[in-house]
Symmetry: C2
Subunit: 663 residues, 2 copies
């Protein structure tokens, strides 16, 4: 054990294990998670080579081999709870996406949710047994977040009772689905349904794309890998082009909408039900943001306690870089953010499950709010985590740039979260739409529930656009409830201002069209959504504290929460000053308090990342090892570089040697 | 040509070629640059395969082959001007670093600058002819920016007149030098000189590391590749460990310091002279920041004019995504930043050359300021460009994540700039040290010149810590000179506040040590440096306008400069409000004006990136093509993916097929 890490651990004011239990939900879940990790780590068939030393084709090969084994082993171990499957998978693949992700995570659930009993009968068991391997083909080369723009057509031919799948343009080629490039033999295809000469909008179809025996592409199907990406090297994201491919009528997923044999289209009862899946996936991304950022923080903070550099006092030994205020100021806000997002993630997951039950019972009341909240928080947390991971990497200096640090991998694996399942800016604007709608409802006399209830007060209290010298809203910068209130007021101020501006443009002399007014104010609408999400995050973090019973854990998490809230204010002082919520003098005090809290967190920083409880194998980082044995391991790792397979690269003799005589 | 791009180009209010000349410095330089690009593009021996389809070992192989050819061709074409060499190299390697970079860019210059005439006689021609291939080995595994911490020793043995090079610890292993892993047979090694029992500090030594005939590592030398990194796949960054390796006394570079045969150490006349090289390299990074960001902007803005998505008005065709205000708000500030940094880059390069001449003449007066300015601007521009490149990538939606977009490559190639040649936070603190020193000099009655001259006024004018309601400093938000003044006042306010706080801590009752007070205030010191750099950038952009004679070019660049300045204020309203430079009402006006200017830039955005004048091959991006032919090219590109070499991957039959029967 690195002596500096031992010293750090001894100095902590709390036992990290108590916080691990809080993060996991209970001690039982912590133990079960570790047990499942043990099943993978102690299984010699899951031996692991660092994929960074392999070519892309080799990485795919290794991954598909592991995935096949993983499915088999999970069944042997009887692992079937979704969360336990998630753990097992992430232990096997060390947090990297893998070729069967979409089959397991979207194809099978789609069958369960959208297939008729007959279709489930016919398709589910073969898919469960990996005879049918499926992907989910929605995005097209020219169309992503805006689903109505999709161009692929499915035209019903009543004479043969078949749908004809077609890709009319290059931009309509399906693009990105994971596992499509090489692995799948079926796809759920989203296409515009045409029947009886009319377009009925998007429907989902089960389309065989490769021969189940030979795995050769079927006639009329052009399918392949879309090529190398920033990351996702293990995954064969693919393209798929149809030249009038016929599938039987029974392959349209007909649990909701239907096409009768004669071509008559039968509408679904409600189209809000598909919202549920989106909410679920977006709330998963909130959790992913927390996990990815907490992994990066673990690496950067451990390394910062091991690394010694420069000098604070001339002539004295080089200090740990964690003792530099600037390093603390980079890393501790990210650490606090990782904790905040962990709690937001579990709140979202609980809320989803609670509301799901109500949806089953036919109560859709809370769905619009949950939908808007999940969209905004998906964007808010993934943006922050995305930038934060790179800050952690750069806080490790040059070594962060080495693949051995593990952070480049975390980044390239995480960063698509800002784009997929709804591009973040579009998500923020969806949240804004809900916020503006809620505000309009309040003006019409409605009483709001939930996270937007602060808008109820808007008609009563002055939303004050400009500061009045000497007065301020904030009474005590150390009172977290007071800070939550300030965040709330800031959100209300920005929501009301944006909504009023949209309205003013519509009602102005120029009579702008509503859509144009919306676009013209969209920068402010995004700003309002961000402030709303920021408020929700601060509030949820503060609320979580009441559940923490261990005194020592409560003390440090309270400091962390206060730090998160104050740091957020200090990074957005313009808003708080402009809204008259703080005076300039208070801004000074907030900035000073943030720096004071760095010193409070400092002795507990290592224990706070230990509490995330990542094993060395999961972290996959030479810099972030629990024992802090960094340099020796880095040297061992480097020696395995493919370029070191031979001492003398033949290219020297091939290209440089002959040149010497020529020059 | 994509019709949307034709339309955009036709709508521009100026001729991009006039701005290209401004960016290049003159029409002649533009033409010469294009001529040199033609030499590479029309040379069939430089055929190019997208390196993203190759393994790392293949990428190294292709690169070293190209580099050897490049050296030969440059001599054939008689290219020897440093800037023309830079162009030729970047055309051959498409902007990627290559294995001979350090040999050409650091090893040869080090010989010229630090070797004695005898050493140059002996070493330069062999190095010029690539018989000696060298690298520059400074950084160690455990030591980077803080040079005094380096551990490698060179101990003089007068009995044999040799130095003994040794790596006493694992952390002392040389780590990172480019071209070290496989390519070089010599290295300039920075080591602590020990002679006559005393450490004389760092000196540079020429050390043979591989046999010049066989290329085998020499006895006592352990050398190899440090393994895969985030990027730099073409470069064999290496490690180097010495086990008491002896080199002749004549291999210490002795132009300045010397060791006599008996071991007597002779000090150099001045140690400030080595500053020159650092200033040069850091000012090069400022230019790199501009170029990397302008490439990313070109790709993102062209693609945003081609891509259609979502709807602004229901039922109407999908608009170009460049018409969304949020997209403009992401990209146009980056476009303006790219222009600002281009001008700062050429200012830095001119200033360096001007002051170099003075240094040769023995006048070192301006060196400290230039040193501080280059450190701060290196950090300021590389941080902004680094974040901006990723914003451009994400503004391209999913396709930005594909390697075909070219932006992942730009990012991973650029991002080390934030770390190498001085870690950015350390750089900002160096600038802060100069700023604080300058302030103290003013208090002592000295009159300052140059970029810090604003501190002269500090004793006269009130540096006002808090806003007075209703009053403000800024008279006209559309007057760029007035905005430059506001940035200057903000810098002065932050520098003075930080300096006073450092001082107060030292003089407080607790009598903090100066170094501890410095560390305790380092977050504020960095903030002050950033504000200083921001002021310099805005000022240089504004000053550049007076050189622009073409009326149409002047008009659009003036708008862009105003936009850059106002956007910077709107992102830092807290500072300006807190310093009393703006009222809350003015902040509203600034934010509104920023949005208005988006509409001014919009019709000229494409022409503004065209003016950067990147050819398709240089840009290396399917999304950023000049003709806007995106989707067809993306499909062609994808088909070349290594995973598509066979239709059916054997792994299906190897891993998945057998599993089906087992499950």
């Amino acid at each position: 054990m690195n002596p500096y890490l031992s010293r750090e651990r001894a100095a902590a004011s709390f036992n990290p294990e108590t916080i691990t239990y809080i993060l996991d939900g209970s001690p039982e879940r912590t133990h079960r998670r570790r047990e499942i990790e043990g099943l993978v780590l102690n299984d010699p068939s899951f031996q692991h080579e660092d994929p960074n030393f392999l070519s892309r084709s080799e990485r795919y090969e290794v991954a598909i081999k592991k995935s096949a084994l993983m499915v088999q082993k999970m069944r042997e171990h009887g692992i079937s709870d979704p969360e336990e499957i998630y753990w097992f998978k992430s232990f096997v693949h060390r947090g990297r996406p893998e070729p069967l992700d979409i089959h397991l995570g979207m194809f099978l659930p789609t069958l369960l949710n959208q297939a008729t009993p007959e279709q489930q009968e016919r398709l589910f068991m073969p898919a469960w047994n990996l005879e049918i391997i499926g992907t989910y083909a929605q995005t097209e080369m020219g169309h992503g977040t805006h689903l109505r723009g999709l161009e692929t057509t499915a035209t019903y031919d009543p004479s043969t009772q078949e749908f004809i799948l077609n890709s009319p343009t290059v931009s309509s080629i399906k693009w990105w689905p994971g596992g499509l490039g090489k692995t799948s033999n079926h796809a759920v295809v989203l296409a515009q349904l045409y029947t009886q000469g009319e377009c009925k909008g998007l429907q989902a179809f089960i389309v065989p794309i490769r021969h189940m025996g030979t795995h050769e592409p079927l006639p009329g199907v052009v399918v392949g890998d879309i090529g190398p990406k920033f990351g996702y090297d293990e995954t064969d994201n693919g393209f798929l082009k149809f030249d009038k491919v016929r599938i039987p009528r029974e392959n349209m997923l007909m649990k909701y909408a239907k096409v009768e044999p004669d071509g008559t289209y039968v509408k679904p009862l409600s189209d809000k039900l598909t919202y549920g899946t989106m909410v679920f996936i977006r709330s998963m991304i909130v959790g992913d943001s927390a996990r990815s950022l907490s992994r990066a923080c673990t690496i950067a903070i451990r390394y910062s306690a091991v690394r010694h550099q420069s000098e604070i006092r001339a002539g004295e030994p080089e200090p740990q870089i964690l003792d530099f205020q600037t390093q603390q100021y980079k890393l501790f806000p990210l650490l606090a953010t990782a904790y905040a997002f962990q709690f937001v993630g579990s709140y979202m997951s609980h809320t989803y499950h609670r509301i799901s039950a109500e949806i089953q019972a036919g109560n859709l009341n809370e769905l619009p709010e949950l939908h808007a909240l999940s969209a905004g928080l998906k964007a808010f947390t993934s943006w922050a985590a995305n930038a934060g991971i790179e800050e952690c990497r750069m806080a490790c200096g040059g070594h962060g740039y080495s693949r051995s640090s593990g952070i480049p991998d975390i980044y390239v694996t995480f960063t698509p979260s800002c784009t997929y399942e709804g591009e973040n800016t579009v998500m923020m604007l969806q949240t804004a739409r809900f916020l503006v709608k809620s505000y309009i409802a309040v003006l019409a006399g409605k009483q709001l529930d939930g996270t937007v209830s602060y808008l109820n007060d808007v008609s009563q209290h002055r939303v004050q656009p400009h500061p009045v010298a000497g007065r301020s809203f904030l009474k005590d910068i150390n009172d977290i409830q007071n800070l939550v209130e300030a965040y709330k007021q800031r959100a209300a101020w920005l929501v009301v201002a944006a909504a009023k501006n949209v309205n003013a443009d519509v009602e102005s002399a120029r009579k702008m069209r509503k859509e144009d007014a919306w676009n013209k104010n969209s920068v402010d609408l995004v700003r309002a959504s961000e402030a709303h999400c920021h408020y929700v995050v601060v509030r949820l973090f503060a609320e979580k504290l009441s559940e923490v019973l261990d005194v020592a854990a409560h003390r440090i998490l309270s400091s962390l929460c206060l730090f998160y809230a104050l740091h957020g204010i200090s990074k957005n002082t313009g808003d708080f000053l402009q809204a008259g919520l703080l005076t300039a003098l208070q801004v000074d005090q907030v900035q000073q308090r943030v720096k004071d809290l760095l010193a409070v967190i400092r002795p507990n920083a290592l224990a706070l990342v230990d509490a995330f409880d990542y094993s060395d194998t999961q972290l996959g980082s030479v810099l972030g090892r629990y024992d802090g044995n960094v340099y020796e391991n880095m040297f061992e790792w480097a020696k395995k570089s493919p370029l070191n397979k031979t001492q003398v690269h033949e290219s020297f003799h091939k290209y440089l040697k002959p040149l010497q005589s020529k020059l």
